[in-house]
Amino acid sequence: MPRIRGWLCLSLILQEDPGIRAVMPSQVQVDLLADPMGVALTRAAQWTTAGFGAGTLELTPLNESLLKDIVKFVESFGTKYPQEAEFVFKESLQWPTTLEPSEFEAGYVVSGTTVKSEENSKDGEPLLFLSGSDIRVSSFGQLSRLLHFAKDKKLKEAQACLEANRDPIMKILGAAAQGIVEKEEDDLTAIRFLDKMKKDENYENNLKTKISLLLQQLDMNLLDSSLKNISLETRLSPASIKNDVDLLKRFSGEGEQTVLESINYTSDFEFANGCRAPPWRQMQGEICYLTVKPHDCDFIYLTCSTAGVFVNGGIESDTEEINYERCSEIYKDLVSILREKSAKFSENISKQQHSFFGTKKKEKKKKRPPVIEAEEIPNLPQTSAVSQKSPSVKRRMVRKLEPSLKWTSSVTPQEKQDSIKESQEEKSLPTTTDKTKSIISTTSTGRSHSLTGKSSIKVEDLISESSSESEEEDEQPDRHQEGQTDLPSEYWQIQKLVKYLKGGNQTATVIALCSMRDFNLSQETCQLAIRDVGGLEVLINLLETDDVKCKIGSLKILKEISHNPQIRRTIVDLGGLPIMVDILDSPDKNLKCLAAETIANVAKFKRARRTVRQHGGIKKLVELLDYAQSKTDPVHHHSMYEIKDVEVARCGALALWSCSKSHANKEAIRKAGGIPRLARLLKSPHQNMLIPVVGTLQECASEEHYRASIKAERIIESLVKNLSSENEVLQEHCAMAIYQCAEDEETRDLVRQHGGLKPLASLLNNTDNKKRLAAVTGAIWKCAISKENVTKFREFRTIETLVGLLTDQPEEVLVNVVGALGECCQEPENRAIIRRCGGIQPLVNLLVGTNQALLVNVTKAVGACAAEPESMTIIDRLDGVRLLWSLLKNPHPDVKASAAWALCPCIENAKDAGEMVRSFVGGLELVVNLLKSENKEVLASVCAAITNIAKDQENLAVITDHGVVPLLSKLANTNNDKLRRHLAEAISRCCMWGRNRIAFGEHKAVAPLVRYLKSKDTDVHRATAQALYQLSEDANNCITMHENGAVKLLLDMVGSPDEVLQEAAAGCIANIRRLALATEKARYS
């Protein structure tokens, strides 16, 4: 620490004590080390230039308050410590003053431009001497008087004094004091320093000790107040690291879309303070160690410390111990270092941000400040680091008010490659805007959960941290291009080439363009270098020239670099898309291809897709599809031109594929006549053409119109044909398209008629390609909705295969597999198959999952199996009913409803069902309370469950006690036929206990029930008639029924072919009639 001089006790204490260091931002530490003054003065030292003597203090609010404190201290020094005030400085403080001789009052000898104090030192020198604008002062007494004279110029004087004397303490106490510090800097503490002074002969002077103590006290106070300011800044804490790691973990795993392959702590043990580092490393401020596996490089071993995150020496292979040595720069947080280390990470994480940043761009631009963190660049000159400080502090405060949207936006996958995933993720990931809201609330509750017990300041910190991160991700690459002094050599070469692009004629331009293509344009450094030197503007500008060669060269580059999400955004911002759309009209086929391909790359986010549409791009792209029609007879060999034409059409399809991810574009493609063209291309022999075509169709098949057209254009046939293709990606997209379309019954039949079920079934045998497996199982699921298809599947022994897929598959596959089994189970024969090949156990095991879509399907399948008593025994043995029952507590209504439906056959078929149901503690109360739900499906399912529960007298008694009657009565005024039917059944069951019949009447359930008889649904009629029959056992109910015209309606029902209905209606009428007779009899007797 060569730069330490002067009075540094405090700073040394701070360095010695890791505890204090932990709370101090390293920036302060840097300042401490760099500045020769005391700590407090250091905080004042927001100098505009580094170096000694020449520096000037910046006028920042922080500086000003510190100066004020110092002035106050010095001013009161004379009166508070008269003795010490007389102490003569070892060396006088000298600075240029603005004070005029005339401003000095009594006690000074004024002569012309010079002023001398009457007070003299022992040597006879005046303690204050002013000559011209130069002033020398050598005691605190004089200093305090001077400030007194200076009046409103106090601050200025103090500032001038500090600027001129960057080392005031040394001047006051003398070089000797400093010498000690330098010698003993390793283990010096303030106490020892003072001890030394006391012992030392030279410092026998008590005064001096006192002064130094006083100064120290001042220093302390100042430091405290500065720390208060600084502590508002973000620091890494165990909680924030933990939070980051947890969030990253959620987005890690296999697959293209995740940010990392894995991220793990090296140690599972967590200390009470949240650290995972061993105690002796915690002394260094280290929190924990991480092992990170990004997609694109080897394992990275990271150390998270309070100062930031850095790469450590990794785990020693022989000792299995961590090499704690720092091997990289310190980054300010986990995300920044991972961004730097892994291009894939930064790509995926920003990809996931797109949707958010795309729309918020404009606001963002205004807000984003160039946050340069001094922590990150400790060797940068102080000025640039420090001068940014106070504005950034302020901005942080502002930012704290913003909600953190980073992770919420990241869970909205903008770039959904496959809509099969989309529909599967609906329960776990929000795909629509209204769902985004719900996830925002869940994430925020999740966040506050993890913070329970932590101070509110930390909450603020975390929020500000993540929001600053999200801003930073926008900003970050700029920083690493400009913030670093050692830019890669490519940067300069690219800059030069861009200069030639700007200043060259077409010959030079073409040469520069060709040369630029020799760089690795898939590398982020090069992509961003092109952007940062203004290359994108030039490249886009070249597209507007007349020169075909320049356009081709430029597009070739744009096509490559537009794989980068940031570049895409910039291209759109610079208005590149409309120009490319215009180029689609060019007679040059090369140009058409390149423009379409570039559009395909750029149109990966919403705003870009909209721009393409608004500039008529969709129509032009659809027209490109016409190129592949061979105008000559098919015998004609593939000439050069024809190959080019196919390529044009392929590029057009590629661009349409990208564009088709927006709803409005799907419509535009259809209107532009895209479907027949795509259908025609689907028959093309060119495999690389088929993928984008099927991709587009599959994307568009989410629209009703398309599904109709797909049927009309006989596209299913081609899709089925291509299922047998060699290309796995093509198979995947075909299966996915079938999955989308097979919601429609006719389409399902078409798939079967074209022989599509067999290839689907056989594709199940290859389980390595999970994406394809997910698509294929999805297609099977949807196809299995038709009975004929299920029969076929049974022939192909697909059910057995599906059961085999119930374990060790990713969720997106499981959802489809279970869905397919659920459909198959609708037939008794298949239930037996599933039981025989051991499918029940894995199904029941899946009941404990969390994936909503999966749970809906699993409950459905288990419920279907439970219809068979033998399977039911197995389910009961595996405790499946309890699991189903606990799913009634699931927050998602679909899961609740599905679980309740599944419970019905379980209760119906279980042996000793009543006892089983009673064994679930609180289960009956839970069911009854679900009647308060808002969701019709949940209500209907719960009514059905209650019907089954109520078959047991004892249980019926219990639910009656839980108030089932008023709750059911309250539901009576519904128009939903499904709910009506199950409600009526439940009511008729519940009438069997005590005075429930009367209670229903009291709760006004009877009149609405009568109205059910006007419904068109015969199931409703039957259930209602039965309920009315039960209710009619009570006289008052009979009166109500009669008043509401039930008799006439029931009379019609008596003529129904449905015997149950007949009987119930007749019974009911009989009861009413009997009452009437009894009344009459009573009247006349």
């Binding site: 080439l497 060259g504 004629n505 010959t507 030079a508 040469i511 040369s515």
Partner: protein, 211 residues
């Protein structure tokens, strides 16, 4: 046209169409006719049988939109195979054959000849410099205005000089062009722009029935 001339022309067209790869007889007749029209338009003194350098440059400029004098000179040299300072009708048809319809190989050969200023079989660093010297906007701030050009030559050599001998052989050039078609006219435009090309053909090869 006099019948004698007409007969002569048909005979010429007959013979030329035997050697011409890319033109049919009708097209050659058109080209011959067009050549005579040009000759009449541009030559003051009658009797010469060819287009001289100035007139040829004029044609390249007005019809094909070329601007670089040096390249136009070189194109003239490429057309004027017998080096007599005039492009006669045979040379005109043969030249246009490559110029308009040449295959990639023919065009590469032609362009290389245009760029090989001293016809030694190599495009040297100096020749490149010469051809590129006007290709950059002069920046007044730069100390050495030729610095950029030199750098551009270096870049070009780095890109195209596959055998690293500091100059481009035809093999180097051919390899580069096959890699990147844009480098065909690496040192200046010496082929017609596609738009002008189409216009020219449309104008000259009018359907015989329209005449």
């Amino acid at each position: 046209m006099f019948p004698a001339n007409r007969r002569r022309m048909q005979k010429l067209a007959e013979s030329l169409s035997k050697t011409s790869k890319h033109f049919n007889k009708h097209e050659i007749e058109c080209l011959i006719k067009h050549f005579h029209t040009l000759l009449e338009e541009t030559i003051e003194k009658q009797g010469t049988t060819g287009i001289d350098r100035n007139a040829f440059r004029n044609i390249l400029h007005t019809i094909f939109g070329m601007t670089d004098d040096m390249i136009m000179d070189r194109v003239f040299r490429a057309f004027d195979r017998d080096n007599d300072g005039f492009v006669n009708v045979t040379e005109w048809v043969a030249g246009l054959c490559v110029f308009l319809r040449g295959s990639l190989e023919e065009k590469m050969k032609y362009c290389f000849d245009v760029y090989d200023l001293n016809a030694d079989g190599f495009i040297s660093r100096e020749e490149m410099f010469h051809m590129l010297k006007n290709s950059l906007l002069k920046q007044p701030s730069e100390e050495d205005p030729d610095e950029g050009i030199k750098d551009l030559v270096d870049i070009t050599l780095k890109k195209m000089d596959h055998d690293h001998d500091g100059k481009l052989s035809f093999a180097d050039y051919e390899m580069s062009v096959r890699e990147e078609a844009l480098l065909l006219e690496a040192f200046g435009p010496c082929l017609p722009e596609s738009k002008r090309h189409l216009e020219f053909e449309a104008q000259v090869f009018k359907d015989p029935h329209d005449l």
